[in-house]
């Protein structure tokens, strides 16, 4: 019978991922927080339902009842696939009578509702982690008229706690979960043990208000066994959802006849830009050839005028050469997150400032931080003018544009320039999450960033930090055992630094560009808070290709925990080879392989969904030759990444963004150096790749 179970599961998995067989569910709205349950997944109160959220929706929700508090981050990964990460305080455990637990869920909508057939979904709760919430389900949902929706499902694991019967897949015994150190997949438990039915009914009073009733099969064994929990008196949950607007929903619940609960759901969809195509000022219009100035201007005057106008648009003109019917410029993009839009603006201004006989613009893009020439875009002046106001203008122009890596190496600034030193003084925020003693720790302080350019390719860069207030120096946990403490002893640094000024990093950075497609960077000095040494990154990236390769090598020595100049007598080396692939759709994959800081060998797989407007949601996992038990709590290194462009929120042109990595556990296995973002080369180069420019080409005339 277990063969039958495996066969059914295999068929379901194939069905789930076969997009041809499944119905594509087009979300009509960008945000829908009313469809989230207390787990931050599609559902009603505590139970799942066969719904999906609008593609791309990112939700943050929190629920509390009977001593349990859940904070959920969920993301509609694909049109039919929803994923969630959860951090929960659960009654019963050794931290003041509670357990703090991380878990991940997946929910896949297999079939869309038809007039005579319900929607069907399959889901895995807590499929990776300690397994406290582990459970699997099939659920079907059907609406009757515009107001009534009924869901019925069958659950395994935690969802088979009450009213259970023998597993129709055959395996009636579900092995006790050996959670070990947590963080591992529970393949052996999926759809095993007894199963129970569950039901929910939703009545929509109006667009704002819903009444919900559930018959829950969750027995809440953990919670009811603890004095901090509640008493389960009934299978029934009752709830009222109030939809403030599609991005914000509040739900009040009466749980199992014993306790009140409250849930707050918030959602945002990167696809739903509040400013649509933006409110930045209009670009300079094109003048037809016959209206262009015939006045003969000195080259210096042309350059000065171009520099002035480009500067007004947030583009720095660094080099400009006129030869025959061509103009070649070197520019730095200081304002545009969207490279295509920046190219369009530069061409418009050059069309305005250059003599009428100029027919072609060669635009070399220089990276602001490194002075590296990255990409070269060649655009014919007349092609641009002809396409400017045509319906299919961007497409017609694209057919004539050429994009490649720039042959130039570095922009050599004027020796008399006094811009060699740049600095900033701003507050910083440092956080540490998921410590059961205090799940959110943070420190705020002042950070002085400074950079001095010796020559165009050689810099000294530094970050000095002065913590002012916070709790990072209160971490009570100790480092992990089993491996050299290359990362898990981070708390010693925060404790010893406390409120003292410290050097976050101080490095000599040397860039190289031996050929148009090869870029390299050497960093020497205090690389990060915990390490000093030498690090080299070499990448190969042809901007016409969607892939690239990299090699990152470092020989480092542990810094003393006071964040000053002293070093410990602990030396480590690491080398990682990387493959980057920008898939045809919105996904970017990166695979690293090699030796990590603790000497372990393995690989990191990173995948992120990118939105053309700059948003990114990603996940990564590192598996090395360190056994899960040796690695410790969490079993292996993993995390989630989020990047949000500021211009999405403001509608104005800006290259700045906010990013964060949510890392459940800090361990020593699979550990890498933590360098500042600008010390990684691939993103600098790939930003100006042909694919990135093409993906946003619609903005060339915006």
């Amino acid at each position: 019978m277990s063969f039958l179970r495996c066969l059914v599961i295999l068929c379901l998995i194939i069905l789930s991922f076969n997009l041809v067989l499944t119905e594509s569910v087009k979300a009509t709205e960008f945000e829908d927080t009313a469809s989230l349950n207390m787990y931050g997944m599609p559902g009603e109160i505590d139970l799942p339902s066969a719904k999906n959220l609008p593609d791309g929706q990112f939700s943050i929700s929190s629920s509390a009842f009977g001593g349990t508090i859940k904070v959920n981050l969920s993301f509609q990964i694909l049109e039919n696939l929803t994923g969630a990460f959860r951090y929960a305080r659960i009654p019963g455990g050794r931290y003041n009578g509670y357990t703090w637990d991380r878990s991940f869920d997946l929910h896949y909508l297999l079939y869309r509702e038809k007039s005579s057939f319900p929607a069907i979904a399959i889901g895995l709760r807590d499929f990776i982690g300690t397994g406290i919430y582990t459970g699997e389900y099939f659920v079907a949902s059907k609406s009757f008229g515009s107001k009534l929706n009924v869901s019925a499902g069958i659950g395994w694991g935690r969802l088979a706690g009450k009213n259970s019967f023998n597993n129709f897949f055959g395996s009636s015994t579900r092995k006790g979960l050996d959670v070990g150190k947590g963080g591992t997949f529970h393949f052996g438990h999926f759809f095993t043990g007894d199963n129970s039915p569950f039901f929910s009914v939703t009545y929509k009073v109006n667009e704002k208000l819903q009444f919900i009733s559930e018959l829950s099969s969750d027995s809440y064994d953990w919670e009811t066994a603890s004095s901090k929990g509640f008493t389960r008196r009934s299978d029934i949950n009752l709830g009222v959802k109030y939809i403030v607007d599609p991005t914000f929903t509040v739900m009040a619940t009466w749980m199992h006849g014993d306790t009140l609960g409250l849930t707050v759901n918030m959602g945002i969809n990167p696809r739903n830009s509040p400013y649509y195509s933006g409110t930045e000022p209009a670009p300079m219009p094109i003048l037809q050839r016959k209206y262009r100035s015939k006045e003969i201007k000195l080259e210096q005057k042309i350059i000065a005028e171009s520099q002035r106008l480009l500067n007004l648009d947030g583009i720095e003109l660094k080099t400009m050469t006129l030869f025959g019917s061509k103009v070649e410029v070197g520019i730095i993009n200081r304002k545009y997150f969207n490279v295509s839009q920046m190219i369009g603006r530069a061409v418009r201004i050059l069309s305005h400032t250059t003599p009428a006989n100029i027919e072609e613009f060669k635009i070399n893009i220089i990276d602001f931080k490194s002075n590296l020439f990255v990409s070269k875009i060649v655009i014919k002046r007349e092609d641009f003018a002809e396409s400017e106001l045509k319906f299919n203008g961007p497409e017609e122009l694209w057919a004539t544009v050429s994009i490649s890596n720039s042959e130039n190496s570095f922009f050599y600034a004027d020796e008399t320039s006094n811009d060699r030193l740049s600095w900033s003084l701003y507050p910083y925020l440092d956080t540490s999450l998921f410590d059961p003693d205090d799940p959110i720790r943070l420190t705020v302080g002042a950070e002085l960033l400074a950079q001095y350019k010796f020559i165009p390719s050689t810099f000294i860069s530094s970050s000095l930090r002065q913590p002012i207030a916070g709790t990072l120096d209160d971490i009570q946990r100790d480092p992990k055992g089993g491996l050299p403490n290359v990362r898990s002893d981070f708390m010693y640094y925060h404790r010893d630094i406390s409120n003292s000024l410290f050097i976050n990093n101080l490095t000599l950075d040397q860039y190289f560009k031996p050929s148009p497609n090869f870029y390299a960077l050497v960093n020497i000095g205090f690389l990060e808070l915990m390490y000093a040494g030498v690090r080299t990154e070499i990448i190969w990236k042809n901007n016409k290709r969607p892939y690239g390769f990299g090699l990152d090598i470092a020989r480092v020595q542990k810094r003393d925990t006071d964040g000053r100049f002293k070093l410990k007598n602990e030396r480590f080396s690491t080398y990682l080879a990387s493959i980057y692939y920008d898939l045809h759709n919105d996904w970017i994959i990166k695979v690293d392989g090699g030796k990590y800081l603790a000497g372990d060998f393995g690989s990191t797989i990173s995948i992120k969904r990118t939105f053309n407007n700059g948003w990114e949601f990603g996940a990564y996992a590192t598996f090395t030759d360190v056994p899960f038990n040796t690695w410790g709590e969490g079993s292996f290194d993993k995390g989630l990444t989020i990047k949000a462009p500021i211009n999405w929120f403001t509608g104005k042109k800006s290259r700045s963004y906010a990013s964060t990595t949510i890392k459940p556990i800090t361990g020593d296995g699979g550990a890498k150096l933590h360098l500042s973002k600008e010390k990684y080369l691939y993103d600098k180069v790939s930003e100006y790749s042909k694919k990135n420019i093409l993906d946003n080409w619609g903005r060339v005339f915006r």
Binding site: R271, S277, T279, L389, K390, F391, W423, G445, A658, G698
Partner: protein, 229 residues
């Protein structure tokens, strides 16, 4: 003693600065996001311009020494004067001082920039053909950029009708115009553009045209026809 770190933190926020003006302005924008959220103004249109008595006078028009057009919201509360900066074939692009631009092909609005949900481009019949016909049926496609910089296209089936001549007043000039009404429909939207054509010609003097679902209609007065230089 707890006051000391808080004071230092507050001073840090106040004294935050950088050698690069761009870094300063971007940090300010970041702070602006939070201000926007607290003011609940994030979704409000930022297109607010000069407001003055309407319609304008001949005296007012004499203040301009280059060709202008006047655009206005339908309620005439927000107005802007625009000057021609672009000329590409028969298509003119007019720009306002606060960075809005409108492009017209012989009076038909074909693109906007700086309006949030901009009309990126328009597939349309030749203006001369439609304005010289009556009861003409044709298709139009409005192209927009969505939040992911992909095209959103709205396809419309349109009918154009010329109405009986009537008299209008613009900047104290009385004119006889032929009103051309264009009604466009698709499954989700319906709009009615109105063009006032100089009587017996295809020259657009003023119009009420639909930009996009978010921006809806606005009015245009081609005042350059009444200017003397």
């Amino acid at each position: 003693m707890r006051l000391l770190p808080l004071t230092i933190l507050f001073m840090t926020f106040l004294s935050a600065c950088a050698s690069d003006n761009l870094v300063k302005s971007e940090k300010k924008e970041l702070w602006g996001i939070f201000k926007n959220i607290t003011n609940k103004s994030i979704s409000e249109s930022t297109v607010i311009r000069q407001s003055s008595a309407f319609p304008h006078t001949k005296k007012w028009l004499k203040n301009f020494n280059q060709p202008i057009i006047l655009t206005s919201s339908v309620d005439k509360k927000n107005q802007a004067t625009l000057i021609a900066l672009g000329n590409n074939e028969e298509r003119l692009t007019w720009v306002s001082s606060d960075g809005i631009s409108l492009s017209y092909d012989r009076g038909v609005l074909i693109a906007t920039r700086g309006y949030s949900q901009d009309l990126l481009s328009l597939k349309y019949e030749k203006p001369k053909k439609i304005f010289s016909s009556n009861n003409l049926q044709y298709n139009k496609i409005h192209r927009y950029l969505n939040g992911e910089n992909r095209y959103d296209e709205l396809k419309f089936e349109c009918t154009g009708n010329k109405m009986a001549p009537r008299s209008i007043e613009i900047v104290q000039y009385s004119l006889l115009v032929d009103r051309y009404v264009e009604t466009c429909i698709n499954n989700y939207h319906r709009y009615k553009n109105e063009y006032d054509l100089l009587h017996g010609t295809t020259v657009v003097v003023s119009s009420k045209q639909w930009i996009s679902p978010v921006n809806s209609y606005f009015l245009t007065y081609n005042l350059y026809a009444f200017q003397k230089f």
